[in-house]
């Protein structure tokens, strides 16, 4: 466990150091002119930020050592949380310094700035039927499996027997995985298409990735039912290998997205909105109707905390994190 933790912490520190160097949209990027970005003041802020990131390893390691004899998995998660918090504090500090030292004259607010829109440029996100298709495909797969079982057990008892067969064939975790993937990706696509600026490369990329993820959920669901009804039991090692492969693929995709951050130029309305990033960490703009905005690192989305829905969504995310800590195995 100690090697996993150390590896995870080093990875976070390395990623934060790396992105601060390559990502031109970070705290110097969006509004600070090129010559200021290259100035000694900018270099000093970046240096202090990097020192903060690497110093963060110490409290994270201390937390891990203090908790690991009690709950090793929880200790790992807590250590990662502490490291992430320290990185965020270092980022907030750098953001504040950049605001004060590099762009003191920029008082104009995005709220009062003129805006323009090309009316006939349409978004490239998937259409609503395409978004809902995996949901209906999942329903059809489930209905077919229930109908197949009902031939011998009757329609009323078929769902229960299907569940028992899935459990008996070792498909419980894959079944949960497929349903989670399907539900999360479809809900995210529906939520984002009505609450983000969809005519950006980031929105297209996110929607297409979510669509692929939802179809992966359908395929896994179909495979689980096929094994439960016609195949042999799924070996535990195969399930684990599959889940690890998905985890690595997701990590690789996120890494690629960070690498290609310059392709994901934010919408002009968000591009100049540095003043709405409080402490550089979270977005709060009551004049902006968007719920999701492109993150400051340009490789994902952040919530607009001036919108009410952002708070229950954040509470849900934190509840999930607490749940993982609570059910983490003791050994």
């Amino acid at each position: 466990m100690i090697f996993y933790t150390l590896g995870g912490l080093l990875l976070i520190a390395a990623l934060n150091s790396w992105t601060s160097r390559i990502n031109q949209f970070f705290f110097f990027g969006r509004t600070v002119p090129e010559h200021l970005r290259q100035s000694p003041a900018a270099a000093s802020i970046a240096r202090n930020y990097l020192i903060g990131v690497w110093i963060g390893l110490l409290p994270a390691a201390a937390v891990f050592l203090a908790v690991r004899s009690w709950r090793p998995v929880a200790a790992l998660l807590l250590a990662v949380l502490v490291e992430a918090m320290v990185c965020h504090i270092a980022f907030a500090r750098a953001h504040g310094q950049a605001g004060m030292r590099l762009k003191p004259d920029q008082a104009e607010d995005t709220v009062s700035r003129p805006r323009e829109v090309e009316l006939l440029a349409h978004s490239t996100i998937p259409s609503l039927p395409a978004v809902l298709a995996p949901f209906f495909a999942g329903l059809v797969v489930y209905a077919l499996a229930v109908l197949w079982v009902s031939q011998t057990a009757g329609l009323a008892a078929a769902p229960r027997i299907l569940n028992e067969r899935v459990s008996a064939h070792g498909g419980d975790s894959l079944f949960g995985f497929s349903l989670g993937l399907l539900a999360a990706s479809i809900v995210l696509m529906l939520l984002m298409r009505s609450s983000t600026r969809v005519r950006t490369s980031m929105a297209s990329h996110t929607q297409r990735s979510s669509l692929i993820a939802s179809w992966v959920g359908v395929v896994v669901l179909a495979a689980v039912f096929w094994f439960a009804l016609f195949g042999a039991a799924i070996p535990h090692t195969a399930v684990r290998a599959f889940l690890i492969a998905v985890f690595i693929a997701t990590g690789a995709l996120l890494f690629w997205r960070t690498l290609k951050n310059k392709h994901f130029t934010p919408h002009p309305f968000e591009m100049q909105g540095d003043e709405h990033w409080r402490w550089g960490l979270y977005y709060h703009n009551s004049a902006d109707p968007a719920l999701f905005v492109q993150s400051r690192s340009c490789t994902g989305y952040s919530l607009n905390f001036a919108r009410f829905l952002a708070w229950p969504l954040m509470a849900l995310f934190l509840a999930w994190f607490v749940l993982v800590l609570a059910i983490a195995p003791h050994s």
Partner: protein, 130 residues
């Protein structure tokens, strides 16, 4: 090649934003930069792009629809319709005439010389007769 139909708004202007949207889209329609059959963004999409409240865009679309420019389809945004040019009445002509005079007086009161106003009107005339 099709020209870009750009809608501009200025939140700092004294004119309400919904009026700016109506005026902006109407100008694009009259100038044939938007043509019958063109689909405009949905209310939500345009509101998010402009960074204004959804109701502001909805109100602007409703006004344009009541003028006969747009066909509002549920969940499909707004589509430009083939609007028939109405026959102007003498009262309407008189109304526009007085608004034009009012505008010219306002320009003069803000310090614009008669030469500048005439030059602007000449430019407009050239655009209209093009």
């Amino acid at each position: 090649m099709k020209t870009q139909a750009i809608l501009r708004i200025d939140p700092a202007s004294t004119l309400p934003v919904y009026r700016q949207i109506v005026d902006g889209i109407r100008t694009l329609l009259v100038d044939r930069q938007l043509n019958p059959g063109d689909a405009l963004p949905t209310v939500r999409e345009l509101a998010l792009e402009l960074g204004v409240h959804f109701n502001t865009v909805a109100e602007a679309y409703r006004l344009l629809s009541s003028e006969g420019w747009l066909d509002l389809r549920r969940r499909r945004g707004a589509v430009v319709t083939a609007r028939e040019t109405p026959e102007p009445t003498p009262e309407m002509r008189e109304q526009f005439n007085s608004r034009l005079r009012l505008l010219v007086s306002q320009m003069r009161s803000e310090g614009l010389s008669i030469e500048v106003i005439l030059s602007e009107l000449d430019g407009l005339r050239a655009e209209l007769t093009k």
